[in-house]
């Protein structure tokens, strides 16, 4: 062994060491740069889904502009869960097993979400729900915390809260201001409605309503004439609807064309679409739908959000958008507070969330369910009026217009 060869060996060893260090550090740096992937399972075909995605995109862009969180940028990928549990499960599998997302934000149909839960739990991925209302979803958090602690609902407020919101509307507005005591309750036969209606019926009776009929119809129904005729003959003065997946378009059209002498309103998700009025030729006039936010300063973030959203999409946002937007920030803030992306630590911080969202303040109860109440997320009732204008009718403090009757019922 000559000195030259030892030197050579030493040099090569040094080079190798440097190379290794370089690689290691770059991989560490790369790990730092690896973006946070958000999986969005939602009903891509519907406005609810499209708006969820637009909102997530808006939030992600804003966060990335500020440099991301803990040095990592955000990105998102979507999967169509349609309204079918089977497709929903496969969407979750695709997102968690194939796309390996770090976080899930989405949801719409309660039945689909319920079916997805065991698979989300198996994948140990945090899920922030933004569209499904059944209380059963967050009940699982209480029943089996260890397995289901990953589940949170950022919005909407669950069906029980919604029922109470409706009861308020009935008691103070329908009975209180319009003087209509006789009501009919009509809803689609979906899980969240099955959860909601009993609470609604009892609450309504307690405030003095005379429920003339209650009917849950098949979500696939396309001919409502028998139903509308029944409502008319029941003597009801106001029809309270609970619709989300059903064909609100067809319902409104048929109600209008038959000039049913009973005004209606309630929860009607599809009627919240910005172009609902126009696409059915204005036939939803005087219909009232519950919403969580309109372009009004409910919180500091509401109006800027609506305006920014309109720039990103051709319409005003529906409810899932508010919560999807908030969800991304809620997660980002929880990560910042936890100082890490580690799931369990983030969950602990998520539980302590107190976030000023688009529709109100977001806090979670012990079941990871968003809370309702003053200052928090609440219902407001918005009516379709002439030329497709919308006015907030209830609560009184937020009223922006006068209530109108259907055109054929004007005195």
């Amino acid at each position: 062994m000559t000195i030259a060869s030892v030197k050579k060996k030493f040099k090569s060893m040094l080079a190798a060491l440097l190379l290794c260090t370089g690689l290691l550090s770059s991989s560490v740096v790369l790990a730092q740069d690896k973006p946070v992937r958000i999986g969005v399972p939602t009903s891509v075909q519907l406005q609810v889904g499209r708006d969820t995605l637009t909102a997530v995109k808006m939030a992600v862009d804003e966060i990335n502009k500020k440099g991301g969180v803990l040095g990592r940028k955000f990105e998102f990928v979507s999967a169509d869960e349609t309204e079918n549990p089977e497709t929903g499960i496969s969407a979750i599998k695709k997102l968690t097993a194939d796309e390996k997302v770090d976080l899930l934000i989405g949801g719409y149909t309660s039945g689909v979400t319920l079916a997805q839960l065991p698979h989300i739990s198996a994948a140990k991925t945090i899920y922030l729900g933004v569209g499904a209302a059944s209380p059963s979803i967050t009940n699982k958090v209480k029943q089996d915390y260890d397995n289901y602690k990953y589940i949170f609902r950022v919005g909407p407020v669950n069906a029980a809260h919604q029922a109470r919101g409706l009861v308020d509307f009935i008691s103070k507005f329908v009975i209180g201001e319009l003087g209509y005591k006789k009501i009919a309750i009509v809803g689609e036969n979906a899980k969240w409605v099955q959860d909601l209606v009993p609470i609604l019926s009892k609450g309504a009776k307690d405030v003095g309503a005379d429920i003339r009929m209650t009917e849950l119809f098949d979500t696939q129904t396309s001919d409502f004439s028998p139903l509308l005729a029944k409502v008319k003959s029941s003597g009801a003065e106001y029809m309270v609807v609970v619709l989300s997946h059903a064909s609100s378009d067809v319902f409104a059209k048929q109600w209008h064309d038959a000039q049913v002498p009973v005004p209606y309103g309630g929860i009607d998700v599809k009627s919240m679409d910005g172009d609902f009025f126009n696409r059915i030729g204005g036939k939803s006039i005087s219909q009232i739908a519950a919403n969580f936010a309109v372009r009004a300063p409910i919180t500091k973030k509401t109006v800027p959000f609506f305006d920014e959203f309109k720039k990103n999409s051709s319409n005003f946002p529906v409810y899932s958008a508010f919560f999807a937007y908030d969800a991304v920030f809620i997660y980002a803030d929880a990560v910042k507070r936890a100082g890490s992306f580690e799931t369990d630590k983030v969950i602990k911080e998520l539980e302590k969330t107190k976030h000023e969202g688009v529709a109100g303040e977001i806090t979670f109860d012990e079941q990871h369910d968003v809370q309702a109440g003053p200052g928090k997320v609440n219902f407001m009732f918005v009516q379709w009026q002439d030329k497709g204008e919308r006015a907030v009718i209830y609560p009184k403090e937020l009223r922006t217009g006068k209530f109108i009757m259907p055109p054929w019922m004007k005195k």
Partner: protein, 314 residues
């Protein structure tokens, strides 16, 4: 008879190789995704094979196969969730329930010919689907029963289990198809009157084959329930029956093993088409038309025939 035995040896070797290949496949890739797809493919394989046994052989196309699948799956769901029984009870229970339905439906409908039988079974499946929705208080309605406990938690092990069941059923039904049983079923397809004249108890055979077909379909349904951990009325849908029929068509009607190939091919194809996003179902349907037009004998069976004939002098 020797040729008959020879057939079996070559086929069984081929089957074994295929089985081993399928079993090993997911271990080559990391991630749970492939296992998931293959498990679903294997379950569809069970459904396809069970359909082929009855309809492929007798020529009585059963457009309501989804009914047996659905009742098997719901039986599993009910026992597991509403009665709290352990998941392993579902397997024999689902088979039993499906078999009962087969007997009840088989008697009145099997004497119908051609498209009428298909239609009767289709109608039955649709009615069952509707009933599940109407009695939503008991069946969970549109969202079905969820929270079913898995049979085997480890996805890879469950996959091997399902694969083993698939292999077992395929073997059993292939053997039956090549035995006297299959001969009689094929004879029924050819000319019922002659069979009757020959004194064969046709009705018994027809009902028995439907019952066997239903039993395995129900079993598949239970396996599916414990995999998806959820059952919904979608299982009864016409689409399910049609998908299975297509798989058998692609594989080669009446060949039993072809059905397995068809199921695997189509399931994998559907999943890989996910990249086409919205165009997925469209591409699938167009592919279907293409196959129907140009490959009426299916793909799998003819290919296997060619492979077999390679070693033979012409």
């Amino acid at each position: 008879m020797k040729a008959f035995k020879g057939l079996d040896t070559l086929s069984s070797i081929g089957g074994l190789v295929a089985l081993l290949f399928l079993g090993v496949l997911p271990t080559l890739f990391t991630g749970k995704y492939l296992v998931g797809v293959l498990t679903v493919a294997a379950i569809y394989g069970i459904w396809a094979v069970s359909w082929d046994f009855m309809s492929g052989l007798t020529g009585r196309e059963n457009f309501g196969h989804s009914l047996f699948i659905g009742v098997g799956a719901y039986a599993a769901g009910f026992l597991n969730v509403h009665f709290g029984l352990g998941p392993w009870w579902s397997l024999p229970a689902s088979m039993l329930v499906a078999m009962v339905f087969a007997v009840v439906l088989g008697f009145p409908t099997l004497r119908l010919k051609g498209p009428y039988f298909a239609l009767a079974m289709l109608s039955s499946a649709v009615i069952m689907q509707r009933l599940m929705l109407i009695f939503w208080e008991y069946t969970g309605g549109e969202e079905g029963i969820h929270d079913i406990t898995p049979l085997i938690v480890n996805p890879l092990h469950y996959y091997w289990f399902v694969l083993a069941v698939l292999g077992g059923i395929t073997l059993l039904l292939s053997w039956m198809a090549r035995s006297r049983w299959g001969l009689i079923l094929r004879a029924i397809r050819g000319d019922e009157a002659t069979c009757l004249a020959a004194g064969l108890p046709i009705t018994t055979y027809k009902i028995m084959s439907l019952v066997i077909s239903a039993a395995f379909a129900g079993l598949g349904g239970a396996l599916y329930a414990h995999y998806q951990l959820q059952v919904s009325p979608q299982l009864f849908a016409v689409v399910t029956s049609i998908t299975i029929i297509t798989m058998v068509y692609v594989g080669g009607m009446g060949t039993i093993f072809g059905a397995v190939g068809g199921a695997l091919l189509l399931t994998v194809m559907t999943e890989s088409l996910r990249n086409f996003g919205e165009w997925r179902l469209m591409v699938y349907s167009l592919l279907l038309i293409f196959i129907l037009f140009f490959l009426p004998n299916g793909i799998i069976a003819p290919i296997w025939q060619k492979i077999r004939n390679l070693g033979r002098p012409s």
